[in-house]
């Protein structure tokens, strides 16, 4: 019973972590909260749905939709953040411009797809139940968890072992010093937005697969959960976002398992509030992006 619950928590937490990684990357590098992240998550799920409906095989559709999400991320930066960055507009104004972009993306999705929920794959996915000792899960769930963990490892590799990753960490640490050392700041920020939004888009597609549903309001449900995750792990921390994602996944799964499903969200935000008040730097207390 408990093993099964923990496994369920893993599936939920993996998607939370993936979504939150995109959030925390932008916060770590630019110190801004990107409130269009949830809109990218939603539109990528719809794009994946459309491509599958057009007859593309699922893996190809997913990859294309994720790349599209990344490109939207770059555009998002050019439209909503870059002009303000040049003016040193602080943190509040970019917050509002990202809300503006979120409204525009939402309106586009609504114009194309209407307000009805869609099945990601018509007729449902072929989900074979897998029994492994005391736990049971489906092949779809295994695919979701595997993909999420694969993407996290890939991100970790990029940040740790590539020139791009080194540049991202340098810009996060000190933008002016990085520029003096020859790092192309704007290019690095564009790449960061690509990665961030691609991860958000991947989380959207995996959520679409998990519930076999995509809807206009799917972003609203994860937007604030993502905040709870990055607060728990420490704002701007990569490792923190992963652990925070799984921690919130565990909290929510256990809440439901113990008959508290109506109070689940209060528990999540209660944890977030307590962490903020008691340990504003997160449970690990470090900005790990800058020291990864």
């Amino acid at each position: 019973m408990i093993a099964q619950q923990l496994l369920n928590a893993l599936f939920l937490g993996a998607v939370y972590a993936l979504f939150a990684l995109g959030y925390t990357l932008i916060f770590g590098v630019l110190d801004i909260l990107n409130l269009a992240h949830a809109a990218v998550y939603m539109i990528a799920a719809f794009a994946g749905y459309s491509l599958v409906a057009d007859g593309l095989p699922l893996p190809l559709a997913a990859v294309l939709a994720i790349v599209m999400a990344g490109v939207i991320g770059i555009l998002l930066d050019r439209v909503a953040f870059a002009p303000l960055r040049q003016r040193n507009a602080g943190t509040l104004v970019p917050l509002i411009s990202s809300i503006g972009v979120a409204i525009v993306i939402g309106a586009i999705a609504r114009g194309i797809y209407g307000i009805d929920e869609r099945h990601f794959v018509e007729g449902g996915l072929d989900a074979t139940p897998i029994h492994l000792g005391p736990v049971t899960f489906t092949s779809v769930e295994a695919l979701i968890l595997g993909t999420a963990i694969g993407l996290m490892l890939a991100l970790s590799y990029v940040l740790r072992a590539t020139t791009l990753g080194r540049n991202i960490r340098a810009v996060a640490q000190d933008r002016i010093a990085a520029a003096l050392l020859g790092v192309d700041i704007e290019r690095t920020i564009a790449a960061t937005f690509f990665i961030s939004s691609a991860l958000g888009g991947a989380a959207g597609i995996l959520t679409g697969l998990e519930y076999n549903a995509v809807s206009l309001d799917m972003g609203a449900q994860i937007e604030l959960k993502g905040l709870a995750v990055i607060v728990l792990g420490g704002m701007g921390s990569i490792t923190g976002a992963v652990i925070g994602g799984f921690a919130i996944g565990i909290v929510e799964t256990l809440a439901v398992a113990y008959g508290l499903s109506a109070w689940r969200d209060a528990l999540t935000f209660g944890v977030m509030f307590v962490i903020l008040v008691a340990r504003p730097a997160g449970i690990f207390g470090a900005r790990a992006l800058r020291s990864a």
């Binding site: 104004v93 509002i96 525009v104 309106a107 604030l224 109070w263 209660g270 903020l276 504003p280």
Partner: protein, 277 residues
């Protein structure tokens, strides 16, 4: 078209604009002190439910139910102010958003609030003159406060908390007072909302509403309370003005918001000031 038919057609919008302006004022009180505290929608929600329950279940007359509601939201603000006293900037914003989300779950789960279905049949006894009378009253109070030493302490706290401490400003008290005053004004708005629109649901006061209030204030300009009111009026009227665009209404709304924030980053109220100077 004469004024009477104009009012008859748009009375709900006119009432909403007045209440939105009050909500914008309530947030601007916090922003004036440099505090990005985003619990205004939650404070309004607490007051709306308290005043609705007071009049529906206990037969409390309107003025008393509004007074009780304001007291409740001010107390909630005071209770929230203590634990978040060390948080600043985005951390304060997130903590106060969390407060709002917890409230939403509570409203969804209590019997007395009608759960997810909310409350309906609230005595519909708040009229347009009452709403705008309240707005004028709050504006006068804020204008009087703006002439006191307290306003100076607020401005100093916003610009530089350490410098403010250096010249003897009790920064903690300023932050506390601005949160509680903002909470009370949001409470007034919430109580009026409940009695003007007859129906309440937990989602009326969730994060999307809070986001809206913040957008009004920033679009209007955070340097003065006038900015918040200007932003609230502008963005409440805008969807109606562009109604003929039908399917393109929502996207136009978003694009105009983006345009204003990108090209007038200090807010609409600064356009005015520039022309004046």
């Amino acid at each position: 078209m004469n004024l009477g038919t104009f009012y008859a057609q748009h009375s709900r919008l006119i009432d909403e604009i007045g209440i939105n302006a009050l909500l914008a004022l309530s947030l601007s009180v916090s922003l004036q002190a440099g505090q990005l505290a985003l619990a205004q929608a939650a404070f309004a929600g607490i007051a709306a439910y308290v005043s609705a329950i007071a009049s529906m279940q206990f037969g409390v007359p309107l003025p008393a139910s509004i007074a009780v509601a304001i007291l409740a939201s001010a107390l909630a603000a005071a209770a929230l102010a203590y634990p978040v006293r060390r948080l600043r900037g985005i951390f304060l914003a997130i903590a106060t958003i969390g407060f709002g989300e917890i409230l939403r779950v509570v409203l969804n789960n209590l019997d007395v609030t009608g759960g997810a279905e909310g409350l309906s049949g609230i005595p519909n006894d708040v009229t347009t003159p009452i709403i705008y009378g309240a707005l004028v009253l709050v504006a006068i109070v804020l204008a009087i406060v703006a002439r006191t030493k307290f306003a100076l302490a607020v401005a100093l706290t916003r610009e530089d908390e350490n410098a403010a401490r250096g010249v003897g400003v009790d920064v903690g008290s300023v932050r506390f007072a601005s949160l509680v005053l903002g909470g009370a004004i949001a409470g007034l708005a919430g109580a009026l909302y409940a009695h003007a629109f007859y129906f309440l649901a937990p989602t009326d006061f969730g994060f999307p509403r809070m986001e809206q209030i913040l957008v009004w204030c920033v679009i209007g300009g955070v340097t003065s309370p006038i900015g918040g009111v200007l932003g609230a009026v502008f963005l409440s009227v805008l969807p109606e003005v562009i109604r003929p665009l039908a399917d393109f209404r929502e996207i136009t709304n978003g694009l105009i918001l983006l345009g204003v924030i990108l090209f007038v980053p200090n807010g609409l109220s600064t356009l005015w000031a520039k022309r004046g100077s």
